[in-house]
């Protein structure tokens, strides 16, 4: 019995130590305080002899998970993963996204971006994706506070990420907005039986740009 207790204590100690590096940062008061205080008016105007420097606004940008891990993928077994994006700004801003290339394995090739059930979804146009026989990689955006855009009005509508290697125009997660916004992004992946086994990966960039 004594050994069990020691084992459990040791186990709990290790878990606590690991959580220090793995735990998500809890929200304070529900959202993020912007420092210094938000304002559209110039916060600082300094005349350095003949130079005039003015500063405006501030913002915060949170991504709940910086890696979307699908694990080992199996044909005709669609997988979804989610993360949350939170933004807050005193000035207007844009949140854009793009992938550096399609999911790629140096030995096995690419997993193409999804075209959805009808074969029509692209980085500009969304479409329903429910069939297990529709393959590829795409995402759905759900706004919990804010507006993802018209493309995601139906829960099963998906869109491709803009592929920078093909010079495709950016996806806009948020466009021309101010204040707080919160989005839930669902990443979906499905492969056919013809897809070569392997570990595929790519990089997705979420770019927060204030307006000028």
């Amino acid at each position: 019995m004594g050994l069990i207790k020691v084992g459990l204590v040791f186990f709990l100690f290790l878990s606590a130590f690991d959580q220090k590096t793995n735990a998500q940062t809890p929200m304070e008061g529900g959202f993020y305080k912007i420092e210094p205080s938000a304002s559209d008016l110039p916060e600082v105007e300094r005349a350095i002899n003949s130079s005039v420097v003015k500063s405006y606004g501030s913002y915060s940008f949170n991504i709940s998970e910086s890696q979307i891990d699908f694990g080992k993928i199996v044909p005709t077994n669609p997988l979804t993963r989610k993360n949350t994006i939170k933004t807050n700004s005193s000035t207007k801003y844009f949140l854009k996204a793009y992938e550096n290339h399609q999911l790629l394995s140096p030995k096995s090739g690419v997993i193409p971006d999804a075209t959805c059930d009808s074969g029509t979804c692209s980085e500009q146009t969304s479409s329903i994706w429910k069939s297990i026989l529709a393959y590829g990689f795409g995402f759905h955006c759900k706004n919990t506070e804010g507006n993802c855009g018209q493309e995601f009005l139906t829960p099963d509508s998906y869109i491709q990420f803009a592929d920078k290697s093909k010079n495709e125009p950016y996806n806009y997660f948020l466009s021309d907005v101010t204040g707080k916004n919160q989005l839930e992004i669902t990443y979906k992946l499905n492969i056919s039986s013809k897809q070569k086994p392997g570990s595929y990966s790519n990089n997705l960039t979420l770019l927060f740009l204030p307006s000028y």
Binding site: G7, S55, Q67, L206
Partner: protein
């Protein structure tokens, strides 16, 4: 005893796998810096950046020129290539962290840093406006073996509007000032499309004055100060008169100053307001009264 040891190691194995998917959480200030300089002094604007997570983070720093969006909404459109002028400029911008030049910033958990942009602009640099973003980009996670994954880079921008050299003549025009010519109630939204014909960016400010058909001022509100880049156009937002009940002919005059020393641009429009809902209600009441009178008359005649 053996069983207990096996159980102990079994419990150890159940310990959750270390995930590489850490959160990224940054506060950044300011969002925009405007600089007007003739380059005689070293300008060192500051950027405050705070890591709000419980782990170390590292952000690469890059400078990217931008142009205004053709949608005239203030969106910076990052450029894929840089010309000679921007190349010359960027060679004279040093990013300083703790008195050392850096190309990336490392932040400990909850750490806040002040990054300085040292602009030491030589006289040989072309005197003109430069518009660019300072982009902070997180490093991608490590690859997970035997797994398919998407790594997310967080990129944050601070926009810089730099006007180098003596300011040229400021010129501009109001390309459009409009509202619905007929409204039945407020609020009334005005569209203001402002064109900057100067070679330097301007910060436009102004107001809209509204008068009724008797010439009395019934509304006056300030416009949001708006930066308009050199030789470009921008729609001034939030130009809304919040008055609810409106009746009659109104005139609205916009006055915009492109700088503290002018020039001042003006334009006037008229619009007509008629509260249709009230009129329809009035017609129904009058019709009802008329109908009742008619019926009463008919009854009297029959009697």
């Amino acid at each position: 005893m053996k069983k207990l040891i096996i159980l102990f190691f079994f419990l150890l194995a159940l310990k959750p796998n270390n995930a590489y998917a850490v959160p990224l959480d940054i506060s950044l200030s300011p969002a925009l810096i405007t600089i007007k300089t003739d380059g005689k002094d070293e300008s060192t604007p500051k950027i405050y950046i705070q890591n709000k997570t419980t782990h170390n983070v590292s952000y690469d720093i890059s400078l990217v020129p931008f142009q205004p969006s053709t949608l005239k909404n203030g969106e910076p459109i990052l450029q894929d290539s840089i010309d000679k002028d921007y190349n010359d400029l960027f060679q004279n911008i040093i990013i300083i962290d703790d008195n050392s030049p850096v190309t990336k910033v490392d932040l400990a958990p909850q750490q806040k840093k002040v990054i300085k942009l040292a602009l030491d602009l030589p006289t040989t640099l072309k005197k003109r406006d430069y518009y660019f973003s300072v982009i902070f980009t997180s490093s991608a996670e490590n690859k997970i073996e035997n797994s398919t994954a998407t790594n997310i880079n967080q990129a944050l921008g601070v926009n810089i509007l730099l006007s180098y050299g003596q300011q040229g003549q400021i010129q501009g025009e109001i390309k459009e000032f409009s509202a619905s010519s007929f409204v039945n109630k407020g609020p009334v939204s005005f569209k203001i499309d402002l064109k900057n014909n100067s070679n330097n960016f301007v910060t436009a400010s102004g107001n809209i004055l509204i008068k009724n058909m008797f010439g009395q001022a019934v509304g006056n509100f300030d416009l949001k100060p708006t930066n308009v880049l050199a030789n470009s156009q921008r729609i001034i937002e939030n130009s809304v008169w919040n008055e609810k009940f409106l009746l009659g002919l109104y005139s609205a005059k916009v006055e915009i100053s492109l700088s503290p020393s002018g020039p001042i641009l003006t334009k006037q429009i008229n619009f007509f307001a008629f509260p249709l809902e009230y009129i329809v209600f009035l017609i129904i009441i009058v019709s009802f009264i008329y109908y009742v009178r008619l019926r009463l008359k008919k009854k009297q005649t029959e009697n």
